[in-house]
């Protein structure tokens, strides 16, 4: 799983550099993001701008990552492409995450 990780303040931004989080990729995705998020102090920002397909296994993996974080560390999502946004909307998981249209908007939002 190709990821790029950047730390700024208490936020770790994890950019997914591959285009599918599907059944075949879900487990390695989960483990890689968990490892990349270790140094976050208050927020993990997952940049999904390169991802054009997420299925129920991929969605489950993103939720699983959030569940492994301490309760005071958020997992926020940015740059969802239409097929990915659709899966979050249909399953109502868009109500569980803060979802930002792009990274800049996500980084500018400093509300707790």
């Amino acid at each position: 799983m190709e990821l790029a990780t950047k730390q700024s303040g208490g936020t770790v931004t994890v950019t997914v550099a591959q285009n599918r989080i599907d059944s075949a990729a879900a487990v390695t995705f989960k483990d890689a993001v968990k490892a990349a998020a270790q140094d976050a102090e208050d927020r993990v920002l997952l940049d999904l701008g390169a991802v054009d397909f997420v299925d129920s296994s991929g969605l489950g993996a993103i939720i699983a990552v959030m569940k492994t974080l301490p309760n005071d560390i958020r997992l926020d999502l940015a740059s969802l492409r239409p097929p990915v946004e659709k899966v979050f909307r249909l399953t109502r998981m868009d109500s569980v995450f803060r979802i930002y249209p792009d990274l800049a908007t996500a980084q500018a939002d400093t509300t707790e």
Partner: protein, 163 residues
């Protein structure tokens, strides 16, 4: 009589990578069948869910069995038939596909159970039957527009070409 288009049969191995390979083969064909992007993404999602479900549950220990798919379009319906010779659906019926509740504490959030909800919410005429040693699953996906073969009603000509 409405014309049938894009009639194709594909098969893949009963593994996640087999399913991924089948979708990689199919998806580039859909624009040529006149299927809009919005509908193509629904088709990809529903096929991924149904085929991965078969790979995982009908063939829990076999990655080199085959799953056969027949796809065609009539009017505004994209039709799908899937056959495999794996284990039967438990109880010989499809799961109900109830959406897991998202309004719970973080630790209680569901990590699965979305697949059949997604399939049921995006398909019509969903049917399963066990026949002999085989599973037969069929459904259709309503297209937002009747699929039209692409025609060049208007095309660009070179600006210096004589009229």
């Amino acid at each position: 009589m409405t014309e049938t288009r894009g009639d194709i049969r594909l098969s893949c191995q009963s593994s996640e990578h087999g399913v991924r390979a089948l979708l990689a083969r199919l998806m580039p064909m859909l624009p040529g069948w006149g299927i809009p992007d919005e509908d193509a993404m629904t088709i990809e999602l529903v096929l991924a869910e149904t085929l991965n479900n078969i790979a995982e549950h009908a063939f829990p220990t076999e990655d080199d069995a085959f799953i056969a798919v027949h796809l065609w379009v009539v009017g505004n319906q994209f039709h799908v038939k899937v056959r495999d010779a794996g284990l039967p659906m438990p109880g010989l019926t499809l799961p109900s596909g109830t959406l897991p509740n998202p309004d719970v504490a973080r630790a209680d959030l569901p990590e699965g159970g979305f697949g059949w909800f997604l399939i049921r919410s995006q398909t019509d005429a969903l049917e399963y039957r066990r026949e002999g040693a085989g599973n037969h699953l069929s459904y259709s996906i309503r297209l937002s527009l009747p699929a039209q073969p692409k025609r060049d009603y208007c095309r660009e000509s070179q600006s210096n070409a004589p009229i």
